[in-house]
Structures are given as structure tokens and as C-alpha cells.
């Protein structure tokens, strides 16, 4: 489904590895449709680059394959170790690229690599600036080496780009017991904090820790939170969803990017894993169905954002799942049946208003 890179990658040879200039050989496009020319109607959200770093065999490529390629998690054990830089461009509603760094190579060595190009923030072009570093740590292995590498990375990268977000994924926690999870997180957190305090960076970097596993939805949730940090409009989106929820008696609403299943925003009530799984599964079903009935030759025409397209699933627990598609975004709502039954028209009106509001937010 995804074309494999044909030409050998040669990006790591130069002393100045400008990422985008040298990468094309290894570029893989995750594209919902053929990228249409940006016209006035095609509103998209351009986000800075996200780097996936970590030691070898920590699970970086697996994360990428599972989140963006729908690879079954148990197939990831057959993935070869990554030897060359792979850059993926995500062309969905959100546009950003993910750089998968081979774990063997230390990119913080500024003699060999153009660290400025890797971590820097380009004032003019948001595509080539770096927004966040996801540092993956294998929780089932000794993580002392990983922590040392993390410290070096934070040290170098934060000097170049102080606005960088450092997201530490304590990965593969599916093999740990509940107590061990907490203890590992605490231990890693403590060690990193101590080391950063020693080099005087603690107050200046944004460092967040997540416990993740590809075998459940935690990786999607963590990835969503990373992306949410890069979205400047996030508070506005959240408040819009809050307003929608309180005016339409919706229990929980997620605004998904349709093709990556990342949620850009949700209302401020606490996310419980079950409802997130329900909503994300529903989105999955809808996208799969759509791909069945769309001729492969023709890319699905983008749904104009002002046209209604959606579906409703009723659960036997008296909950209604409503999905409203708007271009490449999907709004998935959980609401009680009694709030849906008589008020479908009202809801539709509210969804329409919400859609308009979202578009005016992103058109700015």
C-alpha cells in the first residue's frame, strides 16, 4: 500500500545533512488522497516537523507504522532495524512530517551533522522547522543508556531551539505490571529531572512523559497529545467543543483527523479510555467502509466542509455515537439516546454551526 523507497538513501553522508534536501530518496508519503493543489477551499493545518528519536530497538519505527500505516501491532516484530533516515509526510488535514531516526547514530554530534537543520526553527517556513522530539525509551530494557542519550539530545536541541517540546514515550509498558509502570515512570522522571537540573536546563525545557504501548490505544492518545501541543488553535478548538457539548447535551466529543486517527481536540471533560476507543473504532469502521466503495483509481473527493456527511451508531447501553465528517476532519460525539432522538435536527444545526466555526478558526 505504501510504495517502498526505491533509490538508496544517501542522506547521512554529507557533513551538512539538510533534512528535506537530502531525504527524498527515503520519503514516504502518507496521503489520504492525491495531494490536491492548495486552493482556497483546501484548508489544512501545517504543523512543524516531529522527530522520532531513541536508542536502537526501542520501537520508533513500530510506533510510526502502527499509528500511520495501520500495521497490526503484532506484525511489528518482523520490522527490520532502521538503518537510514525515513521521513514521512502526513498529508491529511494536518500536514506535518515525521522523521524516523536510526537509533544507532548520534545526531547530536555537531561536527558531523547540521544540528541546526535538524532541530532548528525556521522562521520563514514552518515545514522545515522542528516542533517536537519524541524520545522513545524501551521500558523493558535497561534504560540508562537511553537516558544518557536523552540528556545529550535535550542539551543540544534545546540550545538550538528553546521552543522544542520533548515528549518522552516510556514504551513497551504492556509487559510491565501496574506497579512497575508507575515505578519505571517515576524512576525515569526522577533521573531525567536530576540530570537536567545538573546542566541547568530544567526550567527551560518542556518535558513530558507518557506510558505507551502499541498494543492498546495509549500510543494514539500520547501521539494525539503531542500533536495537540503543536496546534496553536487548540484552546479555541477545545472551547468550541465545550460550547457544543453544553449546548447539545453531548457527553463527549472528539475532533479527529480522519486519516491518522489523531484527535486534534476534545472537550475538557476527562477522557476515559473506553469512550476514546469507541470513537476511534467508529472512525476506523467508517474510513474502511469508505475505502471499500471508493474506486481505487479515483481518490475520494474531498467532502466540502459545508456538506453534511456522517453516520450514527446506536449502542445498546442507550448511547448514540454520531460521526460528522467535514473535509478531512471528523467530529465523533457520544451522547445519550434521549438527547439525540427528538433533537436530531437541532443537533444537525449545531454541527453545522460548529463546522463553520472550525473553518473560520483555520481560515485565519
Amino acid at each position: 500500500m505504501i510504495p517502498a523507497p526505491s533509490a538508496p538513501a544517501h542522506l547521512l553522508g554529507g557533513a551538512h545533512a539538510d533534512l528535506d534536501a537530502l531525504v527524498p530518496a527515503g520519503v514516504v508519503d502518507v496521503t489520504a488522497a492525491t495531494p490536491v493543489d492548495a486552493d482556497a477551499n483546501d484548508i489544512r493545518l501545517q504543523l512543524p516537523r516531529v522527530l522520532l528519536m531513541g536508542l536502537r530497538r526501542s520501537g520508533k519505527t513500530s510506533i510510526q507504522k502502527v499509528v500511520f500505516h495501520k500495521m497490526a501491532p503484532n506484525e511489528t516484530i518482523f520490522l527490520e532495524s532502521t538503518t537510514k533516515m525515513g521521513v514521512e509526510r502526513v498529508h491529511s488535514f494536518i500536514h506535518f512530517s515525521i522523521a524516523d531516526f536510526p537509533g544507532q547514530i548520534d545526531f547530536t554530534d555537531d561536527q558531523t551533522y547540521d544540528v541546526e537543520a535538524i532541530f532548528g526553527e525556521a522562521a520563514a517556513d514552518v515545514t522545515s522547522s522542528c516542533g517536537a522530539i519524541i524520545f522513545v525509551i524501551d521500558a523493558q530494557d535497561d534504560y540508562y543508556d537511553a537516558l544518557r542519550r536523552l540528556r545529550e539530545t535535550v542539551d543540544v536541541a534545546s540550545r538550538i531551539n528553546p521552543k522544542l517540546y520533548f515528549e518522552v514515550f516510556i514504551h513497551k509498558v504492556d509487559g510491565l505490571s501496574e506497579d512497575a509502570k508507575i515505578e519505571t515512570q517515576r524512576d525515569i522522571h526522577q533521573r531525567v529531572t536530576d540530570e537536567l537540573l545538573d546542566i541547568g536546563l530544567l526550567d527551560r525545557v518542556h518535558l513530558t512523559f507518557y506510558l505507551t504501548s502499541i498494543y492498546d490505544h495509549s500510543i494514539y492518545e500520547a501521539f494525539s497529545k503531542v500533536i495537540q501541543k503543536l496546534i496553536n488553535q487548540m484552546p479555541t478548538l477545545e472551547n468550541l467543543l465545550n460550547t457544543l457539548c453544553s449546548s447539545s447535551s453531548i457527553e463527549k466529543a472528539f475532533l479527529f483527523d480522519s486519516f491518522t486517527k489523531i484527535y486534534l481536540a476534545t472537550d475538557s471533560s476527562p477522557v476515559d479510555i473506553q469512550s476514546y476507543e469507541l470513537c476511534s473504532d467508529m472512525l476506523d469502521v467508517m474510513m474502511d467502509l469508505e475505502s471499500i466503495y471508493t474506486p481505487p483509481a479515483l481518490p475520494p473527493p474531498p467532502v466540502p466542509h459545508d456538506r453534511k456527511q456522517g453516520s450514527v451508531i446506536r449502542l445498546n447501553s442507550g448511547i448514540v455515537l454520531a460521526l460528522v465528517q467535514m473535509d478531512k476532519l471528523s467530529l465523533v460525539c457520544l451522547l445519550r439516546a434521549e438527547n439525540y432522538d427528538d433533537k436530531a435536527g437541532l443537533l444537525d444545526f449545531n454541527f453545522q454551526k460548529f463546522r463553520d466555526a472550525i473553518w473560520s478558526v483555520f481560515s485565519l
Binding site: 516484530i77 501496574e178 509502570k181 508507575i182 515505578e183 515512570q185 517515576r186 522522571h189 526550567d203 518542556h206 518535558l207 513530558t208 512523559f209 507518557y210 506510558l211 497529545k225 484552546p235 477545545e238 472551547n239 465545550n242 460550547t243 457539548c245 453544553s246 447535551s249 472537550d267 475538557s268 476527562p270 477522557v271 476515559d272 479510555i273 473506553q274 469512550s275
Partner: protein
């Protein structure tokens, strides 16, 4: 009433008056009455049924609200124990009681109301969400009533991120001030417990801000958490400058108002978000509850990283609240869940595994709760109800004491036939009522107080030791003698299911086996098994095996059509061998059958198969034993008669003692144990059923053995059908006794060609006595038994020979083999099947100790020191040396 300042600007004057208010019992604020006199008058009535249903107050299970005066008089429930229900209309997110506990403010998306509380009613007092311009400021995430020093101030956190201050004494529009400084929603607001001007807000944007209600300016202090959204925040009840906050990232941070730059302490508390936090009134214990279905209680004075207590709940924890001033020795905490569970559960730290009691009056998630005193709890929920519940009442709607109805007796069988039962001692119902459902606590409460000091003067820092609940219980262990473990283990280890001679030779699949080979092999195995049983004194089992060898070999070769066998002995009717439970009775006529006696005595003695017990495959048995056994068998092969049979029994008596002394205890089946065994193990397929050699069985075996002698001839004599029936009887007998070991071994020998694939009986030619379900039952029970006694290798051998392929796959599925590197003890992650070297420590796994090269093929090692390697290397080394080549000092030779 001077303390009711007319605006927040006058709070300072109210502050001064607060002392006066605190001195006497503060009366009902007169302004409230002035605002809504009807409501005050309404207090006299039991309940006012609103015309619009907005304040319908009667609910299910409410006692004492009946309008009939007699019924009310009859009711024994004191008014303060009444369950009160109000329906303010709309889902509720939070509630807060006024400092005097006479009003309650409730807030939700569509509601913001003040309800007044009287002895037996709650009624609407004031609707703050009134007016023409209703916006998001009127829908609240959280509401809080200010403290004793500013009784008219209420704050709400709106869903749009605004904090709204309401002054209830203001005429007309009550909204006093709207603070719009948080960019994202505010999840929690909290007033300082003693300082009326300080309000702390916790927001989704990850910051906490402290507000001065007097100054209409920006926040006084802002605390940037550098963590994710703040879900809950609370001031410490004892430290005036301390507060703790709970985060979506699972962190708990403790802050000091004097240092707004950084937190004082951080605890990685939960996996996933924390939703509720509550300080114990002693200021030392902090409880947190999160999405990971845990309530954790932290001792803030200790430096431990682990929680002092952990309580596992069945659903994500939403809100938690300590039960105030109850019994200090059994600290208790109430919790509500975020979804699916609509109860308010109260846990005691003395017994964390089961809730002490719960309230189940809500029909949707409980979102807010507050204790008034030790027994009165106010709750509100998404079911649009506000309920006052009482913990000590016995009226309907009161608490459900779950611990009292738990099953407190348990019984369990162990695989070796022991029975353990345990029973709990319960307090009587009268006792539990008096103590308000107090749980039995094993021992008295201890306090960290100096002796002689009064508890009240110890101050709030006194940290009582929670006495863990110890049930007074009685445990009984019975040895039912239904199962003899050493015998089972010995037989499991020594029974063979394939001929040891053929096992070593590689079978040539192409050459079909001759009938003689198959029978020979069957008899060798049976003979070995008989010898095994005889070695440990199980005479009757040995007898059974030798009979099996003689009787059932015709069943092995399905090529012989049953009709042929029947044709050999046309006059014979099938022998009516019923599966006998009674001892000897039914067999006597069979034995007396003249034809059988004549035939068996006239058939010539066949050397090939008649005396299997002289075959000694291992040559380890003492010759004397073999001889004596052979002799006895020869005795047995004398023409069948009752006399011969009775004389045979004593011939086993002079058996030499078994070589292993530990097995030397009595193996003779006792009639007593047989009775117990048959009484208890009615269900013959249960895995822990006993293993009993009853005299019944001995009788069967002896009876059958006495009547027939020569193996090959037997089939001809009895006919196929009779043999099958006999086999059925034998298997039924053993199944009834729970002896699946015998059944499985026999199945393998009969159906699986003693382990040779060429001799396997196809499924359609199985004797009728083997049904799929029965074979499945035998094998699954036997495998489970073997696993329980950790005889994994035996289990593997037996499983390999299981005739039902599906069952084989099923039972093999649960088998996992873990391989570890012998240097770093990490699991081997090499998935391609070969692991000469460890991928983590990059060293050879089990290299030759001598040449340090990898060993393929045969690996020889010293069982004393564990070192080994290539056979050639070791041979070379040990030609000249006696000690181990690694220098470990072990004298291997």
C-alpha cells in the same frame, strides 16, 4: 448581620465580624429570607411538589415524607437521618454546602441553583441561572461556597474558562465578577480554608492561579506546573500556605504559596490521569483517585515513593472525600466513579479490598459529594438528583453494607486429596446496628500518642495507625485419603507408553508392521507397567495390567474382523461382564461357565505371549523379585478356578520392600479410603478425583484373570464384542475411581500402537468403548494432574500420544518455553530459531567450556558442576585431568 457584606469589596469588614459570627451559632442569613420568603415558609412543609417538576422532591425510598400525619408519626427514622432528594433540573457537575450547612449550591451545564435545607426537606431557594442573557458563564464545571468569613460569596468555574464570583447579598443580578484569564477550561476552584479572599483555580491549560477577591486585577500568583492539565486542587487543612494539585499526566504536585516558581514535591502517582484529590483533615494523608481505577493514599510526611495504602476500585475514580471524624482508627474515604459505576462507595483503610458500604441511590454517575458530618453525605450526579444520604440509617435508601453479605466460607480441594475449608466469624446483626455497621477489627486501635495524653490535644498531626482488618476465622484441613500422591507420581514416571527398544531405533515409516510385532510391543509395555505396579506393591494393578496384556491384544489389530473371532467359538454367547461395583457377585456365574473352563485349560500354553512378566526391559529389577513375580504369574496361569484365585493373593505378600524407602508406606488400598473415595469422587472426570485401588477392582481383575489364561486365545474365546464390553467395564471401573492415569495409559497402548505411528488405530476402527468425549476427559484430566505435580516431561510424552488431534493442539497451546541467555539472564529475543549468541550481551550462549566455541549437536556436561561442551574436547581434557576444565574446582571424574 454585619458579617453579610453587601459586596466583595466589603469582605474585609465581614472578616472582622466573622469572629462574632463564629462565637454564636450563626443564624439564617436574613437576606436570604428576604429574597425568597416563600422558600423559608416552605421549610415548614414536608415537601413542595413543584408544578413544573423542577423541584419534585419525593423520590424512591424516601421515608417520612408521606403527607399523612399518622404515617409520619409512626416512622421511626429521626429527621436528620432522612434521605432527602431534590431535582434541580439538569445534569449536575458539582455541589457545595454553605458554611452553616443550611444551603447548598449546585451547578451543572444547565443549572446553577441555591437550595435551602431544612430538617426534612430541600427546596429551591434561588436560581442564579436566571435572566435573559444566558451564556456560558452560567454553566459550571465546579461550584464552591466561600468559607465562614464570607458566607454570601459563591464562586463557579464556567465551562468556557471563566471564573464567576457571585454575591448572594447583592440585590438583583447576583453576578459579581467574571474572571477570564484562563485560556482553557477551569476544572476546579477552591477557597482557602481560613482566608476568605484567596481563591485558587486549576485549569486545563496546566496552570493554577491564585486570586485575590478584593483586587479586580490579574491573578496574584500563577503556578505553572509544566505538566498537563490540572484536574483537581486542594489547600492543605493544616498548612496555611500549602496546596496539592493532581494532573492528567498522573503526577501529584505539592506547592507552597510562598514559592510560586517551582513545586515543592512531586509524586508520580497514577498511570493515566488523576481526577480527584482530598486531604485528610489531619493534613498529613493525601488521597488521590485516578483513571487507573485506584485510590492511593500518600503520607506527605514520609519520604516514601510508594503510597501508604492503595485501594483498587472497579471503575475509574471520579471524586473522593474523606469521611470526617468518624472512627480515627479506621479511616474511611468515599469515592465515586467517572463512569459505569453509579454508587458512592465508602472504603475503610482497615480493609481496603472490599467497600465498607455503599449508597446506590443515584442512577447515573455521581459528580459531586460533600460530607457534613460523619454520617451525612450530600451527593449530586448526572442523573439530575441532589441527595442527602445518611450512613447510619436503616431506612430504605440507606447504606448497603457489602462486607456483611459477602460469602465468608470457602472450600478448596488440593490435587493430593486434601480439603481446606475456611469460615469467617461474623458479628451479630444487633451488634453491627449499634456500631453503625462497624466492622470487626482484630485488636484495638493504637495511636502514636504518648500514654496518658488525651487524644483531642494531640492536634491534627496525630497519625493514627490504622488497624488492619483481621477476620477471626477458622480454617480446617482434612486429609480425605482419596488420592495417593507418591503412587501417582511414581506410576506417572515409570509407566511406559511405548516400547523402549523401538523407541531408540528410528522407525522406518514405509515398512508396515507385522501383527506379531504390534502385539509383542503391546505386551512388553503392559508387562513393564505391571512390573512397575508390582514393584510398589500394587498387586491388583499389576494383575490388571497382565490381564490387559493377555485379553486385549486382539483389539490391537483391527484387520481381524470381529466375525472371524466369533466364528472360532460359535457356541459362545458374549460374556455378560457388567461393570461391577459390587465385589464378587456377578462374576461367579461367568467363572462357573463350563465352556470357558474347558477351553481355557485345553488351549496350549503359548510361549510367545503367556508370560510377559519375565521380560525385564531394564534389567534393574532384582532377580529375586522378577522370579517371585513370574512364579506367581505362573501360578495364575493354572486352569482357572476359585481356589487358584484365592491362593494367588497371598503370593504377593512376600514381596521385597521397595527400594525407595519414602515409598514404603502402605500401598495396600484400604477399604476405608475406598469408601471415602467413591463417596467423594462421584464425578469421575474431575481433575482432582482420587486414585483409589478398591478391593472391588482387585476382585474384577482377579475374577477375569482366573477365568482366562492365554492371550491370543482369549479373543477367539470371547469374541470381539465381548472383549469390547469387558474393556468397557474395566475402563468404567477406573473412571469411576478417578484413575485417569490407567485409562490414559491404556488408551495410548491400545489406540496409538504403543507410540509407533504405523500401528495407530484409525478413528473409525476404534473399539466402541472409546468415545471422543471420554478420551478427551481422561486426557485433559490426566494432563492437568501431571501439570499440578509438575511432571511436565511426562505430560509432554503423554500429550504427544493423545489420539485426538484437536485436544492435543488445545493442550499444547498453553505450553510456553522461555529461553534466557545464561550470561545476562535476559529473554532470548532471537526469533529465527537459532540462538548461538545472545543479541543483547553479544556473547555465545553455552559455549564449550574447553575450546570456547559454539556447540552444535551433542552437548555433554558434568552434572556436578554444570560445565560441559564438545564430547571430543571433554574427552581430550579428561584423559589427563580429573578436575573441571573451567577451573571451578569440581572433581568431575
Amino acid at each position: 448581620m454585619a458579617h453579610l457584606a453587601s459586596s466583595t469589596a466589603d469582605i474585609r469588614s465581614a472578616f472582622g465580624a466573622a469572629a462574632a459570627a463564629a462565637a454564636g451559632a450563626p443564624p439564617l442569613p436574613p437576606n436570604f429570607a428576604a429574597l425568597n420568603p416563600a422558600a423559608v415558609l416552605g421549610l415548614a412543609k414536608p415537601f413542595v411538589m413543584s408544578q413544573y417538576g423542577a423541584m419534585a422532591t419525593a423520590g424512591r425510598g424516601v421515608v417520612g415524607v408521606d403527607h399523612s400525619p399518622q404515617r409520619a408519626a409512626v416512622s421511626v427514622t429521626p429527621p436528620e437521618e432522612l434521605q432527602l432528594i431534590a431535582r434541580p433540573g439538569g445534569m449536575l457537575n458539582a455541589l457545595s454546602l454553605s458554611p452553616d450547612k443550611d444551603f447548598v449550591v449546585v451547578g451543572g451545564r444547565d443549572v446553577l441553583k441555591i437550595l435551602s435545607i431544612s430538617a426534612n426537606a430541600v427546596s429551591e431557594h434561588l436560581n442564579l441561572r436566571a435572566g435573559v442573557r444566558i451564556n456560558l458563564n452560567y454553566s459550571s464545571n465546579d461550584v464552591k461556597w466561600c468559607n465562614l468569613y464570607a458566607k454570601s460569596i459563591v464562586a463557579t468555574a464556567a465551562t468556557n474558562g471563566a471564573i464567576v464570583i457571585w454575591d448572594l447579598n447583592k440585590p438583583g443580578q447576583k453576578m459579581e465578577r467574571v474572571i477570564n484569564e484562563h485560556t482553557r477550561a477551569v476544572n476546579r476552584i477552591v477557597f482557602h480554608p481560613t482566608d476568605p479572599i484567596k481563591l485558587l483555580s486549576a485549569s486545563q491549560d496546566g496552570s493554577m492561579k491564585l486570586w485575590d477577591l478584593r483586587a479586580k486585577a490579574a491573578a496574584v500568583l500563577s503556578f505553572e506546573s509544566k505538566a498537563e492539565s490540572v484536574r483537581d486542587v486542594q489547600f492543605s487543612p493544616t498548612g496555611p500556605t500549602e496546596f496539592s494539585a493532581a494532573f492528567e499526566s498522573g503526577q501529584i504536585q505539592k506547592w507552597d504559596l510562598r514559592n510560586p516558581k517551582n513545586y515543592e514535591r512531586r509524586i508520580s502517582g497514577h498511570n493515566g490521569m488523576i481526577l480527584g484529590i482530598d486531604y485528610h483533615p489531619n493534613g498529613r494523608l493525601l488521597a488521590t483517585g485516578g483513571r487507573d481505577k485506584m485510590i492511593k493514599i500518600w503520607d506527605l510526611k514520609a519520604d516514601a515513593r510508594k503510597p501508604k495504602y492503595s485501594i483498587q476500585t472497579i471503575a475509574s475514580v471520579g471524586r473522593i472525600a474523606w469521611r470526617p471524624s468518624f472512627d480515627r482508627s479506621t479511616m474511611e474515604i468515599a469515592s465515586s466513579s467517572m463512569l459505569t459505576d453509579f454508587r458512592v462507595q465508602v472504603f475503610s483503610l482497615a480493609r481496603t479490598h472490599v467497600p465498607k458500604f455503599w449508597f446506590e441511590n443515584h442512577t447515573n454517575v455521581v459528580t459531586g459529594m460533600e460530607w457534613v458530618d460523619a454520617d451525612t453525605l450530600w451527593t449530586c450526579g448526572k442523573d439530575k438528583l441532589v441527595i442527602r444520604q445518611h450512613a447510619a440509617t436503616t431506612a430504605p435508601g440507606g447504606p448497603f453494607h457489602v462486607a456483611d453479605v459477602l460469602n465468608s466460607a470457602a472450600v478448596c480441594w488440593s490435587p493430593d486429596g486434601r480439603l481446606v475449608a475456611s469460615m469467617d466469624h461474623r458479628p451479630t446483626a444487633a451488634g453491627s446496628k449499634e456500631q453503625g455497621g462497624k466492622m470487626p477489627v482484630g485488636g484495638t486501635a493504637k495511636f502514636l500518642l504518648k500514654p496518658g495524653k488525651k487524644m483531642d490535644r494531640a492536634g491534627p498531626f496525630a497519625m493514627p495507625d490504622v488497624t488492619t482488618y483481621k477476620p477471626s476465622q477458622l480454617t480446617v484441613q482434612l486429609d480425605t485419603a482419596t488420592f495417593d500422591e507418591p503412587i501417582f507420581v511414581h506410576l506417572a514416571n515409570h509407566y511406559i507408553v511405548r516400547d523402549p527398544e523401538t523407541e531408540q531405533a528410528v522407525p522406518d515409516e514405509s515398512v508396515p508392521l507385522s501383527r506379531e510385532t504390534i502385539i509383542k510391543r503391546f505386551e512388553v509395555c503392559c508387562a513393564h507397567n505391571a512390573l512397575t505396579a508390582a514393584n510398589i506393591g500394587l498387586a491388583n494393578v499389576a494383575q490388571t495390567w497382565s490381564l490387559v496384556s493377555m485379553l486385549f491384544s486382539p483389539l490391537l489389530v483391527p484387520l481381524v474382523a470381529p466375525t472371524d473371532a466369533a466364528a472360532l467359538a460359535p457356541p459362545l454367547t458374549p460374556v455378560p461382564l457388567t461393570p461391577a461395583r459390587s465385589a464378587l457377585g456377578p462374576f461367579s456365574p461367568t467363572l462357573a461357565h463350563p465352556d470357558v473352563a474347558v477351553l481355557s485349560s485345553s488351549v496350549p500354553f503359548s510361549t510367545a505371549s503367556s508370560n510377559p512378566l519375565t521380560v525385564d526391559p531394564y534389567g534393574t529389577t532384582p532377580a529375586s523379585l522378577a522370579t517371585s513375580f513370574a512364579t506367581s504369574t505362573l501360578n495364575a496361569t493354572a486352569p482357572g478356578s476359585l481356589a487358584a484365585r484365592s491362593s494367588r493373593r497371598p503370593s504377593f505378600a512376600p514381596l521385597p520392600p521397595h527400594p525407595t524407602p519414602s515409598h514404603a508406606r502402605s500401598y495396600v488400598s484400604q477399604p476405608m479410603s475406598a469408601i471415602i473415595g467413591s463417596a467423594v469422587t462421584d464425578d469421575a472426570v474431575a481433575p482432582v478425583t482420587g486414585f483409589v485401588q478398591a478391593p472391588v477392582h482387585a476382585a474384577t481383575a482377579a475374577a477375569a484373570g482366573g477365568s482366562v489364561d492365554e492371550g491370543a486365545a482369549v479373543g477367539a474365546i470371547f469374541g470381539h464384542a465381548a472383549l469390547v464390553e469387558m474393556l468397557q467395564g474395566l475402563l468404567d471401573e477406573h473412571t469411576d475411581q478417578g484413575d485417569v492415569q490407567f485409562c490414559c495409559t491404556l488408551v495410548v497402548l491400545l489406540l496409538m500402537g504403543a507410540g509407533d505411528k504405523r500401528a495407530v488405530v484409525p478413528r473409525d476402527q476404534w473399539p466402541a468403548c472409546f468415545t471422543d468425549t471420554q478420551v478427551e476427559d481422561w486426557f485433559s484430566s490426566y494432563i492437568e494432574l501431571l501439570h499440578r505435580f509438575r511432571l511436565y516431561d511426562v505430560a509432554a510424552v503423554v500429550l504427544e500420544q493423545c489420539p485426538i488431534a484437536d485436544l492435543r493442539t488445545k493442550l499444547q497451546e498453553s505450553t510456553t518455553i522461555y529461553t534466557l541467555c545464561n550470561h545476562c539472564y535476559k529473554p532470548n529475543t532471537n526469533t529465527n530459531g537459532k540462538f548461538w549468541s545472545c543479541s543483547r550481551c553479544m556473547r555465545l550462549v553455552n559455549a564449550c567450556s574447553f575450546c570456547h566455541q559454539r556447540v552444535t549437536g551433542q552437548y555433554s556436561w558434568c552434572q556436578g558442576c554444570g560445565h560441559g561442551g564438545h564430547l571430543a574436547c571433554l574427552a581430550e581434557w579428561f584423559r589427563e585431568n580429573r578436575e573441571c576444565c573451567t577451573g571451578c574446582g569440581h572433581r568431575c571424574r
